[in-house]
């Protein structure tokens, strides 16, 4: 997913490899590479500079005390700093107030309307709320229709006044209605996209805020945003003092450096992320996961949790345990493939497995590409599947024949599998360095 930054950092860390301790001289090249990697990831240039300066100081201060390799040390420092920058703990949205009033804001096309639908669905299905969606975009062609269609899809009422050309009044009327009939405990106000430099439009949303006094103001931002993210976030924050940030379109391959920029500039937490166009493609934001994604350690926790939610809980935690003990075998791989296939975008999900992201970077993956893998694994004996190290040449030949593939394909698969296990092992080592797997929610 964040493959580019990964390979950049890989390169940076390689420079440090084989050198016993961190000195001003041997860290300089690495720091430069990290900075470049951050810039390529769209982290704001000033923040990238501050960040690398900080990392450098940390690295120089710590080297005497530790026995780990400089590369590992740098990984830890970089990850810790990234996590801190992005806000530490995950934070929920404020559901106080009766009804709770939530106001959306953001640039054109960032994903406000879609996110309004996603949030309404989530609050309804997971929090037992009865939200009312309010269509306050009176400008964009068919904006009201769009929200209405989303509302229909998820069975949520949409308040709209197609003839009313006053967004403030519409918001007020909607709130009035919600209070009057007492059915809705959450009111989500979708607004038009606007530029921070558009005084008139910024005035409008400030007036909406003043009129409805929201419990939660969310700033919705496209994760592909470049250097401008800081300016926009700052301007919206100055005007609205928003409570949280929503990062959309994370299902793409953007590295998402904007997340780092925004957090450090406005000091507001990213509360949810959008991971697709469908209305269930919403996820909570975990700064530590994002940091580890940026660093190329894969997002194994997300993967496992997704599996947990959609499938068998026991199976998922069994899998996680196996990974942590480095006992992951072909049977597990097969199970995982089956789950991944049912979960949707395969490439995205595969990318969450440590080491796989890079391997599939330039490969087209479709459902069918799994067929060969499945055929090979099912042609193995149960013992072979549980002991991936047991493969002799004659066994490989038998498996190839049995699965109707070539010996080359079998060799490739075994090799890839081995590499994946190796990556998982490294991953465990990193986990052991600080935030151990035990501290993660799924193991509690």
């Amino acid at each position: 997913m964040f493959d580019n930054l990964n390979s950049k950092l890989d390169r940076a860390f390689k420079v440090l490899k084989g050198q016993g301790r961190i000195t001003e001289i041997n860290v300089a090249e690495t720091v430069k590479e990290i900075r470049r990697a951050l810039l390529d990831a769209d982290v704001n240039y000033k923040i990238a500079k501050e960040f690398t300066d900080k990392v450098k100081i940390e690295a120089l201060g710590q080297n005497v005390l530790t026995s780990v390799s400089p590369g590992q040390l740098m990984v830890k420092i970089v990850q810790d700093e990234l996590t801190t920058l992005m806000g530490g703990q995950a934070r929920d949205i404020n559901l106080k107030g009766n009804p709770t009033v939530i106001l959306m804001s953001g640039l054109q096309g960032s994903g406000k309307t879609t996110f309004s639908g996603k949030l309404a669905k989530l609050l309804k299905e997971k929090r037992g709320k009865n939200p009312l969606l309010v269509a306050c975009d009176i400008y964009r062609p068919a904006a009201i229709d769009q929200l209405k269609i989303l509302g229909e899809q998820i069975g949520i009422k949409v308040y709209a006044e197609p003839e009313n050309k006053d967004a403030v009044k519409i918001a007020l009327n909607a709130l009035k209605e919600a209070k009057l009939n007492g059915v809705h405990d959450v009111v989500i106000i979708d607004t038009a996209g606007r530029l921070a430099v558009d005084e008139q439009m910024m005035d409008e949303i400030a007036k909406i805020k003043a009129a409805v006094n929201p419990n939660e103001i969310l700033f919705v931002v496209d994760s592909m945003t470049g250097q401008d993210a800081v300016n926009t976030a700052k301007a919206f924050n100055e005007r609205l003092n928003f409570d949280g940030v929503i990062l959309t379109k994370l299902d793409g391959d953007t590295r998402g450096g904007a997340a780092i920029s925004i957090m450090s500039v406005v000091q507001k937490p990213i509360k949810y992320v959008g991971t697709g166009e469908k209305l269930d493609a919403i996820d909570v934001f975990y700064p530590d996961r994002m940091a580890s994604r940026i660093l190329g350690m894969g997002d194994i926790v997300s993967l496992v949790e997704k599996a947990q939610e959609n499938f068998d809980k026991d199976e998922a935690s069994r899998l996680a345990k196996k990974i942590s003990k480095n006992e992951f075998n072909f049977d597990d791989f097969l199970t995982q493939l089956g789950q991944i296939k049912k979960m949707g975008n395969i490439k995205d999900l595969m990318g969450m497995i440590p080491g796989v992201g890079k391997a599939i970077k330039d490969i087209d993956i479709d459902e069918n590409s799994f067929k060969g893998i499945e055929a090979i694994i099912t042609s193995m004996t149960p013992q072979e599947r549980q002991n991936p190290d047991s493969f002799t040449g004659s066994r490989r030949l038998r498996v190839a024949k049995g699965s109707g593939t070539s010996i080359q394909e079998v060799n490739d698969l075994i090799k890839q599998f081995e590499e994946m296990r190796k990556m998982m092992k490294t991953m465990n080592k990193f986990q052991g360095m600080g935030r151990s797997l035990k501290n993660m929610p799924m193991f509690k």
């Binding site: 640039l107 096309g109 068919a142 769009q146 496209d222 945003t225 401008d228 793409g252 490439k347």
Partner: protein
């Protein structure tokens, strides 16, 4: 000036207005950076590097520009602010000139084709539909007949949105409604254009992230289907890029080219604070010319991209 012959004459002013923010951003900073300095030193080049990076030009292109400037000032050590502005402009324009052929007059493209088919593609929310609405209006205003095909049959109210836009310009609207096969909409739009003897066909497609294989395959299919009725169609495949997008725009351009062989770019939302430096980077590295820029949400807020004018406006010259 003649460079905006496609559109009305007062557009230069608009472009300036649209780019005012960019100019303030980049070149007032440069002016500040060199205030009190009469020669280019490392400190200045560092500053320049920051400024270009902050405009989303990208590390690679920035380093390229810096190198060129270094080479130039190696010959000519002492330069004034105004000389430096000119030098910068020269180098950036030159970079654009080296890699792509400039689009001078978009009516030239239409010659020899009836209809001329433009397929519009891009990631979610960048401004594809809006750009089509604006384009249709420009063509219609200049006496061309336009057919718009609603091949985004996926996003909620996408068809309704495009319909409103086509009504604004009076273009002929072809749609099969929501959740229908986009390729057959595209096919029928081209067919309709042949029937009524239209000059231009504009095909709107659903926003899609370039890493979604299935959706990219679908896009290739939409493109292929059109060539069944006119072998050379689509004559143009335009990628719309949000001007505030960072380095991911490169990957977008790469992947969309792989799926549909892009022929042009449109960069939108340049009326915001985003610097639009991505234009320079993509032109340089991917060699696909920028054809239009979007500078607002109204029907007239579309301009033919002109590098001279663009860089001049950027520099505030």
């Amino acid at each position: 000036m003649g460079i905006f012959s496609f559109f009305s004459k007062d557009k230069k002013e608009n472009l300036d207005k649209g780019l005012e923010k960019s100019r303030d951003g980049i070149f007032s900073k440069i002016a500040k950076a060199i205030a009190g300095k009469s020669k280019i030193d490392d400190e200045f080049l560092d500053e320049l590097e920051d400024i270009l990076i902050a405009s989303d030009v990208g590390v690679e292109t920035t380093l390229k520009i810096i190198k060129r400037i270094e080479a130039r000032v190696a010959i000519d050590k002492f330069v004034s602010t105004s000389e430096l502005n000119k030098l910068l402009k020269d180098e950036i324009v030159k970079l654009l000139n080296e890699n792509t052929i400039e689009v001078k007059n978009t009516f030239e493209d239409l010659k020899g084709f009836k209809p001329y088919v433009i397929m519009v593609v891009g990631v979610n929310g960048v401004g594809k539909t809006t750009t089509i609405g604006k384009l249709a209006n420009q063509f219609m205003k200049n006496g061309k007949t336009v057919v718009i095909g609603a091949a985004d049959t996926f996003r909620a109210a996408a068809v309704d949105q495009l319909k409103v836009w086509s009504e604004r310009s009076g273009a002929t609207f072809v749609s099969h409604g929501m959740n229908t096969d986009p390729a057959s909409v595209a096919f029928d739009a081209v067919k309709k254009a042949i029937e009524i003897g239209a000059d231009v066909v504009l095909i709107d497609t659903a926003g899609r992230l370039h890493n979604k294989i299935n959706l990219m395959t679908e896009l290739s299919k939409i493109k292929r289907v059109m060539s069944k009725s006119i072998e050379t169609a689509p004559h143009e495949v335009m990628l719309v890029i949000d001007g505030s997008t960072g380095q991911n725009a490169f990957e977008q351009a790469k992947q969309f080219t792989a799926a549909t062989e892009l022929t042009s770019l449109a960069v939108t939302k340049l009326d915001g604070t985003a610097k639009g430096g991505v234009v320079i980077g993509i032109s340089d590295q991917l060699k696909i010319p920028v054809k239009y820029i979007g500078v607002g949400e109204k029907v007239e807020d579309l301009q033919v991209f002109n590098r001279e004018a663009f860089v001049e406006s950027l520099l505030g010259l």
